[in-house]
Amino acid sequence: MDDQSQKEAIQKIEEIHQKCKEDLLKLQEEQNAVIGEFIAECEKNKMEELRNKLE
């Protein structure tokens, strides 16, 4: 195996790795948004519960 094919393989691996990292990061951001919604829902429920108690 020559240097050139070794280099090409490394470059290809690097590209696949980079693309996957980017996709995973996007996914993590999406997941964070869902968790954000979950917190919002919990907050809303808590407020309603408090309001009911007060009434």
Binding site: Q6, I10, L24, I35, C42, E43
Partner: protein, 424 residues
Amino acid sequence: MPIGEKFPDNIENTANIETLPSEKESRKIESLPDVPEFAEEKISDLDDGKNEIENSGKTEAERIQEMYQPNASLSEKYRKLIGEFAARSREIADRAKTGIKEAAKGVVIGGMLAATAGIAEGNVLEKPSGKKQEGVKIEEINTNIAVEKSKVKIEEVEKRENHASEIAEKIRQELIEHYSSKEYLDRLIVEFGGKEERAKEVQLERVENLKTVEIDTSLSYAEFADKIKSEKTNADGIKDIFLITGVYNEKVRVPYDIDKKIKEAKILINQLKTIKGVKITDEIKKIAENELDMSLESILRHEITHAVTGEYGEMSNSSIEILKRSYMRSGNKADKYFGNPLELLERKKAMDREMEKLGIKKYSEEFIPEKHYHEVMDAYRQGLFSKDAKEFISIIEQDPNVYKKIFDEIADNKNIDSESIKPA
């Protein structure tokens, strides 16, 4: 051949032997990384990324659920959503891993990774001649890979821990230097009404506190947050959901991966800001807007500085009074934390250090309101101060004379007739 099926006895193990480069070839490629090893590292990294999504989604959702409804289990809707994210992350990572294995297989047929790729896909390995060969001791290779992978993981964690502990030790040394200085002693002598011997005793005690305080950076954020939560050291609502950056309670504890957690928290806060009905405190907003330069280093510095006066740091009544009078109440629960004189004192110490570093005023110098106050405000507007110093400026009354009183009359303060206050 499915994994675990017995191999015929007459098949020889050729996977690694066939493609070992000759000595000449080895010299030729020594400047390039070994492809199988390189691919293994990348795969291991992707596994980490995938695991992070799976684990953080699950633990974060469960933690929030636990906070709001401790006795209920996670709702079906969110369980499903989090499950979907985990599945998508596996899919993305697996697709990439296959691509990486293919790329590596094409280059070094007999490499360990290529062997695994062949086995995982149920394929056989191909010799350069084209003759099919099924001769790999699967268990041995898989065990080796597992061992190598755990080694890589352990090394990564150790590397991060070492990085945090190196920074911590550097800060400890800097602080020891400052608290051992003549300038500091001179300030203490003034604070102790000219009693030099007493001031020297206090100085020695504080330097000793710094030298001996245990600094623990061995935990990841997840482990750290669970521990703190179980100790109930910090349980004040929304702050608990997002971030507990560090603690001083007998010893200094800061998670080694706090920088990463801060980055994640910023993303989360920015998402939360777009959701109607979610109330985010100004303090939390500041994190997302980079107004507070929170970092492993600034957090360590803050917590280690707590150790100077010890856990039950005692302050003279006059210092308590000065700081309490100078604090601008916000009217919300943050007052409990920021209004604590010991927390105010930590931020005052940061101001002392940074005014000197920025060339505004030496520690031993008298505070001149007409000069120094304006220089402080200029530096503040230019964003030159750290998180602690910025907080000091935003919570202390904007009055040059108040500044003068604080910087001229308080060193770090300690007095025999003092009232004891515990840091938050």
